[in-house]
Every structure is written in C-alpha cells, then in structure tokens.
C-alpha cells in the first residue's frame, strides 16, 4: 500500500477491483465500513462475481475475468474526454508534459522495438527527448504531439464505452456509472482509494492492471494524499515483510536489484543501478544506491568486505537468467535442479498446473519441507485415489520433513500491507520436536560452514566469511536479527558538511538510512528497515495508539518503512507552488516557510521547499510520476489490453484478426507449455480461482473450526449456465481444463451472470481453492489441477485468475 489500512477511513470513494477485500481481508475491511459510516464514503465493486464486498457496496458492476485493462483504459478515456482531471496536479507532479522520442510508436497492438523470436522488446524508443545537458524536454502547453499527455490521449481514445462493453462485458450504463463515481474525485476536496489484491496480480498482464489504476489515481490527483493511493492488500500477515527481505531471486533485501552475469565488475553494477537525474534540482533518491548496497555487504560480510575487494562483490551470485518459481519448476523438470528446500510453502497446491509440478517433484533426489503443518506437497508421492493418482513405487524422491513452530509460537515481526513493521511475542511453546525456522536454518548453515572449513571446496569464501555473530550460533534470536537488519555504525559516522561532527558513534544502532555510507563505515541488512531498531530500542514493538491529527497515522505505533512514513509521496498532498494542502480539511505535510512539517514524516528533504522545484516522486530521476513508464515495464510504456492466454473470445477485440497480439506478447512461455493452452471450442467457459473468507489458502483445511463453517470444495456457476447444462444446485460436477480436471459440488447462483461481449455470450466458472488431500476438512481436488503455466511478464506471478474450462455433471 502506498497508504495504510487506517487511512482508508479518509476516502470519499472506495473502489474494490482486482480483489475482494471483504472476503479476503475482513479485518482491514473495517476501515471501509468506517469510511462509509463516518465520511459517507461510497463503495464501488467491479468483479466477475457479485462478491461479499459487493454485498455491502453502493454499486456493483460485472466484468469478464482478465479484461481489467479494457475497463480501466475506458475510465482513463472517460476522465480525459469529460475533463475529470486534477490538472494542476497532473501538470506539476506527472510526466504529462514530457516529450517522448519521435521514433516511439504503437501500431497494431505492438509498441516499437518488438522482437517476436525473443518475445521481448528493445525499449530504446520508449524514452524522453533529452536536451544537451541530458535532461528530459518538456512542453508546458502539452500541445506537442509527442508529449505524454497527447500520446496518452491518443492511446486511450480507442477505449470507448462501447469497446469496454464489447471486451469486458460490462453493460455500458454500468460502466459509465462507475466511471462517473471514480471521476467525482478529480476535485481537490475529494479522494478515491483503490483496494486490490491477487485479482489484479495473477494475470499474464497483472502488473499493467495495477499501472493502469496508478495512472487513474495520478489523473485524479489522488496519490500521496490521505484517503488515496494505490493499495495492494497483501495476502498473508507477513508477505510484505517477505517481499521486503528478498524472496525474489532478482532482488537483494530492500528491492536492490541483484547482479546479473552482465555486471562483470562492481563499477558496472553500481553505475547501472544509480540513475542520473532526468530533470534539474530533483532528489533522485536512488542515487544513494551504493550506500545501501555497501552497507548490506558490510552486514553480511563484516570485516571481510573491504574497499579493496569491492566489498565482497565477487561473492554475490550473478543471475544467468530467470530464477523465479515457475522457472525453478521448469528447471527441476529438465533435471537441472535435483534438491529442493521448501520453507513454509506448499508448491504442489500453490503453483499452477499440478500435474507438471507433481511430475517435477518426482524427479528430485531429495526434498526438505519445513512447515508447521502436514502439507499436500510433503505427501505428493502418496496415492490419494483420484485426488493424487500417483504410483509411489515409481517415485524415488527422498522427502525430509522438518516440523517448524508456527507464527504464534515464535517472536518476531510481521510487516503488514501498510508497511508497518509490528513485533509479536510468542504465545506458546512449539509442540513436540518442532523448532523455529531460525534454528533450523542456523543448524543447516553452521554444519555447511563446518564442512567447507574441513574439506575446502571450489569457492568457500562466501560461506566461510559470512558474519554469524549471534550469541547462540545455532539459534539466533529474533531480536538479534532485527537489530542486524536495522544496522549499526562500524566507525563514527560524521556529517558530510562538517567532518568534525559525529552523527552516530561507532557501535551504535543507526537511526535511519540517511546515515548509511558507502565507505564501509555502516552495516545495514535492509536499508528500508533502517530505524526499526534504533538506539531507542525496538521501535516495531511500540504500541502507542495516540493520533493527535485524527487522520490515523499513529506515528508511535510500530515502525513503518521507509523512515516511519505512513503515506508515501506525501509531498503531493500539497500545492506545488504554495506547499499548502490541496484540501485544508485533509492534513498531510505542509511547507512552514522554512521546512516541511505536519502529521507524517515528509517524503522529501525537509528543506526542499516549493521554490526548489523538487518534485514529490523522489524515487524517479525526474521527480514526477510516470504516466508513460519509459522502459520500466516488459510489455509497453502504456498499458494495453491483451487477452488472457486462454480467451473465450479467441481474439483481442482491440486488434481483431491479429494473432500475435491476442495475449501479452512479452509474457514468457516455456516451450514445453506452448501446447498446454486450451481453446474456446473445447473449453468454452471463462474460469477464475479465488479464496473464501472462511479459509486461509491451504492451511485452515487443517483446522476444525474453519472446516465446520466451510467444509467442502465447490465451484460456482450462474443460473443460465446451470440451466443450459442441466446442473442442479449442490450436484457434483466435473470441471476440465486442457491440463486436468476436478470434481466438486456446484453452487448455482444469481451472483454470476452471463456477460454479453459484443454478441458473444460468456459464462464464468468460479473455483475456490482451499481444498486438498490432507487436513480435517473434506478431501477435495487441488484447484491448480486446472490452471495454466504462464505468468505476468514482469513479476512471473501465475495467471490463476483467467483461463478456460468445460463443465458437466459428474
């Protein structure tokens, strides 16, 4: 979330799309009901199904699964055509006025630079026109045909309400009503928030779904403002923390892009990741990259990381290509990986195309499962009849289960969707032989290190030299690790303007990332967490609910990254020229005449006043937000509608007859999966998977209370489809995709309506995911028997939300 949970109460219009907040985030949803009761906020829900969120909404509109960009592109067109734009904001705080290279082009569904063989783009032309000093050129009048404003207008002029109806199946009147409600917040005194989740991410064009919404929020002037922002509701108590700490193979902690095999020297690596300013007088905050990186290496390698050895740069692995989860499964499949350590993860249930995942696991030599629960994955080799029809005698994978404590049996932190890091205390002892994840990992590491020390090896230094200064090396405490993540001064840290002035004494915990240095004098395990455990102690454990401003920022509750800031880009809440809030009733930070101050930690250098010309979007080298995203995205600088890889329409309504742009032309498809996609002729129905409020992923099927309130697997279909197929409510049905089939009870409902997409009737089949073959709930099929093995082109998040099936009575 750019904002945070409590901040939802400050919204005037709440859009729930690409998610189902009431269903999946019932506790956070309290801030929606709060806004509705106390601010008279309106709740709008757009979803293929009439959901639990829709049940308490002011307005609901349906759309076809996988057509969000068509809908949101339609909203952009509506805002531009009806002048529902916060123009002062857009001109000052976005790149609307910036000039794009004249050789940039969008034609026949493709942007300039496409390489069909590689399924990727050369992004050279997706760039600003630069002046002699290397700064981007702008046209304040926005009349130049190559300025972002004009290019955007042209791009989205095709997204008419008629095209939205034809593509998304949303009745035109319903679409216009939603567009009007969204557009009502274009004035400075009204703010809209968007709550989304996996309904936007789990598509082959998921990142672009979110970007389209970000563009809308920029046009409305809602970024950086209380009650606004683009808000991802994360799916797990600590999934934000996991992301922050680097579970992605392409990142080091704190979103520092990890080196690739092209970064042959430390200098190259640093240069490529330290952007040059694109406009004068901007903060260009990522220019500090080397300070964050070197401090990380000092945290990892301590005295062994020196200026002479480039702070141990050579010890970091260099990526030779993708290493995401989908790719890992593919590599196991190809026999390139033969050992798999699985920590708190149930890939057989959680990854698409269960058949492929199961047959990959069967090729492993060994598999270690660290989990508090018996998982389906750990029993992938057992025969559970039609639910898991394998031959154990043919599977040689050695499975080792290491029982772990669960979150309530271990202290540590959760980082919630609003980036607030909160300490939690252990509520009980773990049962039996269960050990904390830290203890298990530490034992694996210390044994590995001992083996390297004894036997040597090809490249022992990265293991042998790793800092491991815990009081008990085989059981580091959560406190020690959080202190290490925060970081400390290794030498006295001095003021760059006055080297005689010591800011932090050697040995002290660092107060924030402004103190990080790239000369080896500071260590920090994750720059964005710097400040969480300062000299004042464990700030994540703070529990002060006081909220003097009433906007809900509670600055002394836990610690929000970065810098305890609660609303990102909060400089944008104030007028560019005066520095005073756009809406006096909506306090954020304001310019006092000499500094920024207010009810949040300013997201700009305190002394960079309105006269400085510094923009609020400090993480871009141009200081403004990007309506045109330059080379940031894999499939284009403006989001374009592409169909899911399995489409009920068979073609892209925006590009009829063009076979190469039906689906995302830049999404990766493994050769072996090319034939695994089904066609509408054989699988005519649009399917989507989702979660239910009674359950949490594949965990709570192990819990009696949850099983009682939602005991068994089901699929949902509309009354029209049920009638066509002769399916009665509660009857068992068989759902097939080109990859597998499941059986479950049918729920026949009015909540899923047939959609009319330009004369083509589209039915949806809804598939909740929570069942499997272990646990106390009734056994059921893993929903991922059905889902396709293809993912978002930027994040490699699988396309669980839109594919094709057929359905019949079982």
């Amino acid at each position: 979330m750019t904002n945070h949970w409590v901040d939802i109460k400050n919204a005037d219009v709440i859009l729930v799309m690409g998610g189902n907040a009431a269903e999946a985030h019932p506790c956070g949803f309290k801030w929606v009901t709060e806004a509705m009761e106390h601010r008279k906020a309106k709740l709008v829900v757009v979803d293929p199904r009439f959901t639990r969120s829709a049940a308490v909404s002011d307005f609901y509109a349906p759309l076809r699964a996988g057509s969000d960009i068509a809908f949101l592109g339609g909203v952009i067109n509506y805002l531009l055509a009806n002048n529902k734009v916060h123009m002062d904001y857009v001109k000052a705080f976005t790149n609307a006025t910036f000039l794009i290279r004249e050789d940039y082009e969008f034609k026949d569904g493709l942007f300039s630079g496409y390489d069909e063989a590689k399924r990727s783009y050369d992004k050279t032309t997706w760039a600003y026109q630069l002046d002699k000093e290397g700064y981007a050129m702008v046209d304040e009048t926005m009349e130049n045909q190559n300025c972002v404003w004009q290019l955007m207008k042209k791009h989205y002029s095709r997204y008419t309400p008629e095209m939205v109806e034809k593509t998304s199946g949303t009745p035109k009147a319903d679409f216009l009503k939603v567009a009007e409600m969204i557009g009502s917040t274009a004035t400075p005194d009204k703010v809209l928030t968007i709550l989304y989740a996996l309904g936007w991410t789990q598509h082959s064009h998921g990142s672009q779904n979110i970007r389209t919404m970000a563009m809308i929020q920029l046009l409305l002037g809602n970024m950086g403002r209380p009650g606004g922002g683009v808000n991802a509701l994360r799916g797990h108590a600590n999934v934000q923390g996991i992301t922050d700490m680097c579970t992605f193979s392409a990142n080091l902690p704190g979103y520092l892009v990890s080196p690739t095999d092209g970064d042959t020297t430390f200098e190259e690596y640093k240069t490529r990741r330290t952007p040059k300013p694109l406009r004068p007088n901007q903060m260009n905050f990522p220019q500090n990259f080397s300070k964050w990186h070197v401090s990380l290496m000092k945290a990892w390698y301590g005295d062994a990381a020196t200026a002479d050895n480039n702070f141990a740069y050579d010890w970091l692995p260099k990526r030779d290509g993708a290493h995401d989860l989908m790719d890992t499964v593919e590599r196991i499949h190809q026999g390139k990986i033969n050992g798999f350590i699985i920590q708190g993860f149930n890939p057989l249930a959680a990854l698409p195309n269960k058949k492929k995942v199961g047959s990959a696991l069967a090729k492993l030599k060994y598999m270690v499962v660290m989990d508090p629960l018996r998982t389906d994955t750990s029993e992938f080799w057992k025969n559970f009849g039609e639910l898991n029809n394998v031959k154990p005698e043919e599977i040689q994978t050695e499975v080792i289960r290491l029982p772990t404590s669960c979150f309530a049996e271990d202290p540590g932190t959760f980082t919630n969707s609003g980036r607030v890091i909160q300490w939690h205390w252990a509520g009980a002892e773990p049962p039996g032989e269960a050990k904390s994840d830290r203890e298990i990992i530490a034992n694996i590491f210390t044994r590995l290190r001992a083996a390297y020390a004894k036997d040597g090896g090809k490249f022992p230094d990265p293991i042998l030299k790793l800092t491991w200064a815990y009081s008990n090396p085989t059981h580091p405490s959560a406190e020690e690790i959080l202190r290490e993540i925060n970081g400390r001064a290794l030498k006295d840290v001095t003021d760059p303007k006055d080297p005689t002035k010591v800011l932090v004494q050697a040995g002290q915990q660092l107060p924030g990332f402004a103190m990080l240095r790239d000369d080896g004098s500071t260590a920090c395990g994750n720059w964005i967490y710097c400040g969480v455990w300062s000299q004042a102690g464990n700030n994540s454990a703070r529990r002060d609910t006081s909220d003097p401003s009433g906007v809900g920022n509670t600055l002394n509750w836990g610690f929000a990254w970065p810098a305890n800031r609660r609303v990102l880009y909060n400089r944008a809440n104030s007028d560019p020229k005066t520095g005073q809030p756009w809406d006096a009733k909506r306090p954020g930070i304001r310019w006092t005449g000499s500094a920024w101050a207010g009810v949040d930690i300013p997201d700009i250098a305190p002394a960079l006043g309105p006269d400085s010309g510094a923009g609020p979007f400090i993480m871009t080298p141009e200081g403004v937000a990007r309506l045109f995203s330059l080379g940031g995205m894999a499939e284009g600088p403006f989001p374009e509608h592409y169909e899911p890889f399995e489409t009920p329409l068979g073609e892209n309504p925006f590009h009829p007859g063009k076979k190469n742009v039906v689906s995302n032309p830049a999404a990766r498809v493994f050769k072996s999966d090319m034939g695994s996609f089904g066609k509408a002729e054989e699988f005519p129905y649009a399917a989507t998977t989702y979660r239910l409020t009674e359950h949490f992923h594949f965990w709570t099927k192990n819990i009696e209370s949850n099983a009682i309130v939602q005991p068994a697997a089901f699929v949902e279909i509309g009354e029209e489809l049920a009638k066509e197929k002769g399916i009665k409510n509660g009857q068992m049905v068989k759902v097939r995709s080109n990859r597998g089939e499941i059986k479950a009870a049918a729920v026949v409902t009015k909540r899923i309506k047939m959609l009319d997409c330009g004369g083509k009737k589209v039915h949806h089949v809804g598939i909740p995911i929570h069942w499997g073959f272990v646990g106390v709930a009734r056994d059921g099929f893993l929903a991922n028997e059905l889902t396709p093995f293809v993912a978002d082109a930027n994040t490699q998040t699988p396309e669980y939300k839109a594919f094709l099936v057929n359905i019949e009575k079982a």
Partner: protein
C-alpha cells in the same frame, strides 16, 4: 449471571429476587448493511462456548452449518434477492440466532421449573440442568431458534454470552466482528444507534430501511438494521410480525393450574406434539 439477577423463571410461581438495583437492559445490534457474512461470529461462538458441530457437506449454499443446532447457536443465512425485472441483485446475509425477546415465548411455554430464565438485563437463558427436553420452547419461539440435542435431549440456544456480559464483556460474536456489523450495549443506546444507521441507509437510497425490534414480542434484545424494513421476510424468512403462538397463552392462562394439581400431562403432551411438529410453513426467499 447470578440468581439474584433473575427476573423471570419458567413454570414457577415463586417470586423473583428484587433486592438488587435493577440492571440496565442490554441489546445486541446486528447491522446487516455492514455484514459481510464472514462467519467469524460463528467461530467465536463455538470457541467461547466450547461447541463443535459436525464437519458437514457442501449442499449448494454458503450457509454452513446449514441450520441452528445444539452445537451451532448462531448461523449466517445467505439470501440472493433480485426484485423486479431489472432489479439489482442483493446478497442479504443475516446472522440468525436467539432474539432474546422482552416477552419470551420459550419461557412462557416451558413446563420445567427454572429451565428458562430471563435476567433483569433482558437476556433469556436456558438453565440446561433443569431442562426436561420436551421441546415446548421450540413451539413457543416465534423465531424457530431452540434446538434439542440428540446427545443429551436438552434444548440449547444462544445465551447472549450471559457469562461474559455478567463480568462486563461483550458477547463473543460482537467482540470478534471485524466490520462493526455487531454492536452491544445498553438497549436505549443500541436503539439510538440503530436509528442513526437507518438514516444513513435512507440517504443511500434505501427508503424503507428500518430497525427490527418487533413489538409483537415486546421488543427484542437482539435487533437488526434492515435495508428493507418493509420486507423482513427477504432476509431468509425473518418473521414480519412475530407473535407468541396463542396456544402458549392458552397453556399459561387455563391449563397451567391443571399441572399444579398433577393432571392432564399426557393430554398436553400430545397437544404440544401437534404444536411442535405442526403445520410447516415454506420459507420465502431463495437460498445460496
């Protein structure tokens, strides 16, 4: 709750204790316009009261367990309502359970001395050790709430967590409700709060919004905020104008003296069997 707080007891003519300063009537307010049907209240109820129903099956509806039982003192009932040709769909979700009537039909109908009590704060509670399992409370209830256990042949229903309320805590369901759809407090305050919510719903276009506090049973200590106050039946068959069956009044007025002289028990048993199992009415409204 202590015996000193008992205001009424079933099947007894003994006077209730009166020395205590009268307790303020309490109420639970269920705001259906804020309810997302998450069933956290169901789980809280089973955990606080140590109840575990069967792990059932999926019969085509979200209602699980599908009905109130001796183990499920509250269940969510989901109703898909689409009125008129182009009417917009509504998913009306009602938390069902004991309404804690000011004039409780179950207590009136109960022949077992002290098996059903009403406390001074309005809570109607079953004192299970006194229950004889006759099922008359079911006949007396206009909301079809009590259920007889197959395990011990005694009647059970929501106690409004009288044990929690007695020590100043809200019922478990209210404590756990994530969206503020459940509130608990003094009845006056809950009525005022309900009126405010009704106004808000009217502003949002629900012209017929109303507070459900039916006077046919003297008002209730569990009240609903309904978007469609004119059509309670849309909410999985919530009674439009609940009243205690006239047979119960007859039992109280005429036949009770017969019991005191030890006559007519068998006759009455048969009589009430008819009332209990008696003509069934179809519940209006679709289910899912």
């Amino acid at each position: 709750m202590q015996s000193l707080d008992v205001q009424n007891r079933s099947a007894t003519t003994t006077a209730s204790p009166q020395v205590r300063v009268a307790k303020e009537p309490v109420a639970k307010l269920i705001d259906i316009s804020k309810c997302i049907g998450c069933k956290a209240c169901q789980v809280a109820c089973m955990q606080w009261n140590d109840l575990r129903d069967e792990i059932g099956t999926m019969g085509g509806v979200y209602d699980n367990p599908t009905d109130l039982t001796d183990q499920s003192w509250t269940v969510m009932r989901f109703s898909e309502v689409q009125r008129g040709q182009d009417g917009r769909l509504e998913w009306l979700i009602r938390k069902d359970g004991c309404m804690h009537c000011e004039d409780p039909g179950c207590l009136k109908a109960c022949p077992a001395p002290g098996a059903i009590v009403k406390y001074a704060n309005g809570i109607v509670d079953f004192v299970s050790e006194n229950c004889i399992g006759c099922g008359y409370c079911i006949a007396g209830c206009p909301f079809n709430v009590p259920r007889i256990s197959k395990k011990d042949n005694k009647a059970y229903k929501c106690s409004l967590c009288s044990d929690r309320v007695a020590v100043g805590q809200a019922p478990a369901c209210v404590k756990t409700c994530p969206t503020g759809a459940l509130l608990f407090g003094a009845k006056d305050e809950m009525v005022a709060r309900g009126a405010k919510r009704v106004n808000d719903l009217k502003e949002r276009g629900h012209a017929q919004a109303a507070l459900y506090n039916p006077q046919g049973v003297g008002g209730t200590h569990v009240m609903y905020v309904l978007q469609h106050g004119d059509r309670p039946d849309l909410y999985s068959g919530l009674p439009v104008d609940p009243k205690i069956s006239p047979w119960v009044a007859l039992w109280k007025g005429i036949t009770k003296p017969l019991l005191s002289i030890g006559l007519g028990l068998a006759v009455l048993g048969a009589f009430f069997h008819y009332v209990t199992r008696g003509p069934k009415e179809e519940e209006p409204g679709g289910k899912a």
